[in-house]
Amino acid sequence: MKRLGKIEPYIYLLPALIYFAVFSFYPFLRTIGLTFFTVSADGRVKAFAGLDNYIHVLTDPAFLRSIWNTLVYVLMASPLAIFIALILAVLANKKTRSSSVYETMFSLTMAMSMSVTAMIFKIMYNPNVGLINKLLGTKINWLNDAKYAMVSMSFISVWMNIGFNFLFLLAAIRGVPVELLECADIDGAILYKKVTKVILPMISPTVFFLICTSLAKNIIMAGLPIILTEGGPKGSTSTMIYYMYKQAFGNMSYNDAYAAAVITFLFTLIATLISFSFEKKGVHYS
């Protein structure tokens, strides 16, 4: 029984381990392996290439631009979606009769599919007939001007992710002990102080989770450029994964695609490690 007890946890882990091994670890290791070979359009390994594929991709201006675009997109989309959701969650914290109405409204964006949202925004962004220019009184070509295209796509991402972030943050805020907030009230703390000194430290594990998932999700984003811009104008909305997708399926160049995939993974890994360094300093589990 004692020996079984030791292996018991691993037995529970086995199904998930098999699943990940088959569908994640094996393809991932195979992809890494193939980056060192020349692979033809029909998937045949033709020759050992050493680091040539990486050199080719890292000297391709289109991929370098994709790296920059991805970083810009992540820096614009991730913090803003969490920040706006946090404000909404603080506002919605107090339970009232109408809570369910605005809670549903705030979280509704997570029920929208990316393709539907993208098509709606495409019309709204139209420089001639779109709602946004009408409201702002501008004539900006939001998706077809290289200066604005990535900002416009980031805004769609923010809008889409607010609902998901809101749900998590609302649940976390409502989990903050009432006595702590009452103590802050007795001490005369204003709302800003209560949020930064009480609520944020208490919900920091949730914020940390949202930061990690948001970074990973946004670094590998490709849906919006596929649907809206095909990476244009002038490559301004081509992300790393969009580049990978285009090389693999638009150009049948698996050599570039494999190398781009591994480099993107490294970026995601670095971003996650940075997030975990934040965990040590700023996340409170007590």
């Binding site: 080719h56 001639n128 095909e230 104008p233 399926f249 150009n251």
Partner: protein
């Protein structure tokens, strides 16, 4: 894996074995035999391929109205020809890029999960024709069995679109051509003849100047909206002179395309010379935002789009204003090439079962037949690829009632079959290169020569990279 290998290994058997029942399908029996059989057997049973119904999986990439039209065609097949032969077709939507799905399966060696038949864009033909399971209509026509769609019924231009290394690799199905769409009301208001749209790019530039409306410095109605990408450019350059292949090896149809030729033969520069006149008008919108909607809202007087958009524009415009279609304005008045056929064809695969292959072949031909083409094209707006259909009364009536499609049909039939979109393989990159360079040219960020050189050099670099890895 074992199943995959089994499927591959049994290909030869599938090709050489002929089911006994297919003898009756081939029409080799005399009329007397057929009459005797009809007397002896229940109606509809004489052509059955096997005792049990054969199920055919059909992958397609049609959406919305077009998907409904396609499903109606499949349903009609199941109720008529399918019932006669004992075939049941099940269509399934596989996203907008079926070639990508097939390629994924092929790389994994997962031949078992291949469909029997699949709708693919022409650009996917060179890759698909290399699959172990692939069977070309050319081979099937050469066998001479179970022919229900005569080879001659396929319009030569459409056949050429899906021809690779002298083999017809797909039966054309949902085909289109590029057109000039124009607003007749705005033409009249600008003093232009609405029944005489521009025939050359130079004439189009003159029309743009008259059609463009401004409020101060701001353009309120553009004379022309089109974003020149690969599709548009290869149609213009391809139509120059008698015809132009765009790249070597007949634009990739005779073998791997390793370079573009429109730089060295001067056709790209000839096009840019004319296009400069369009840009100089100040009434040309070089990026497409919502081109259908903007044309429908009279924000552009002319637009250049595929004929596949006729149906969509009819819905959007309704009776709001009168509009028409015309052939794509030529680069030079003397050009005779015409335009390319766009769209998709139907490819089939041999899954190792002779009866299934026969059934698939019959369905593949049915999709190119008069009934299927009429039903599908009149519901979707595509141009029929069946020559005989144009001789029928119902098609003549349809074209009389839908004059917008006449320009597309006339243009297609008048075009040289050698004018085609090239099989350039690195289509995505070439599209991006042309798009970026042409927008930069239109927005005054670079001159004509730079645009020309960038397009040629960058396209050649991408093609060279591909050839380096994939040349045999």
């Amino acid at each position: 894996m074992t199943l995959s290998l089994a499927a591959c290994g049994s290909k030869d058997t599938g090709e050489t074995q002929k089911p006994e029942s297919t003898e009756t399908v081939q029409g080799t029996q005399s009329e007397t035999d057929s009459q005797q059989q009809e007397e002896q057997e229940p109606a509809g049973d004489s052509k059955r391929i096997s005792d049990a119904d054969i199920e055919i999986s059909f992958w397609h990439h049609m959406e919305g109205t077009n998907a409904n039209a396609l499903e109606t065609v499949c349903s009609n097949f199941n109720d008529t020809v399918g019932k006669e032969y004992g075939i049941i077709v099940t269509p399934s939507f596989q996203g907008t890029n079926t070639a990508e799905k097939l390629n994924t399966l092929a790389q994994a060696g997962d031949w078992v999960n291949f469909p029997d038949i699949c709708q693919v864009a022409s650009a996917g033909i060179p890759t698909i024709s290399g699959y172990d399971l692939f069977v070309s209509p050319e081979e099937m026509y050469a066998k001479g069995e179970n022919i229900i769609l005569p080879r001659e019924s396929i319009i030569a231009n459409n056949a050429r679109t899906f021809t690779y290394k002298d083999q017809l690799c797909a039966i054309p199905f949902s085909n289109s051509t590029i057109l000039l769409y124009y607003n007749k009301g705005l033409f009249e208001a600008a003093g232009l003849d609405p029944e005489n749209p521009p025939k050359t790019i130079a004439e189009m530039a003159e029309a743009i100047e008259k059609l463009t409306q401004k409020d101060g410095d701001e353009v309120t109605t553009y004379g022309l909206n089109v974003q020149v990408k690969r599709y548009q450019l290869v149609n213009w350059v391809g139509g120059e002179g008698e015809y132009n292949f765009i790249g070597d090896n007949e634009g990739g149809r005779a073998g791997l395309m390793s370079k573009v030729t429109f730089g060295e033969d001067g056709t790209l520069m000839a096009y840019l010379d004319e296009w400069e006149k369009v840009i100089a008008t100040g009434g040309y919108k070089p990026v497409e935002d919502n081109i259908n909607e903007e044309f429908a809202m009279e924000l552009s007087a002319m637009a250049i789009m595929s004929s596949a958009r006729i149906g969509k524009l009819k819905d959007l415009i309704g009776d709001e204003f009168e509009w028409g279609t015309a052939p794509l304005p030529k680069v030079n008045a003397s050009d005779k090439g015409g335009t390319a056929v766009g769209g998709s064809g139907i490819v089939m695969f041999d899954k190792g079962d002779a009866d299934e292959l026969t059934a698939t072949w019959i369905f593949q031909q049915y999709l190119g037949g008069e009934d299927a083409q009429y039903d599908f094209c009149t519901a979707s707006g595509y141009i029929p690829m069946n020559r005989d259909l144009y001789e029928t009364e119902k098609m003549k009536t349809y074209m009389a009632e839908n004059p917008e499609i006449v320009a597309a049909v006339d243009q297609l039939l008048a075009s040289n079959p050698n004018v085609q979109e090239p099989f350039d393989i690195v289509t995505g990159d070439i599209n991006s290169i042309i798009d970026e360079e042409m927008v930069a040219f239109a927005q005054g960020e670079q001159d004509k020569q730079t645009t020309h050189d960038n397009i040629v050099n960058k396209c050649n670099q991408k093609l060279a990279d591909y050839v380096k890895v994939n040349a045999e």
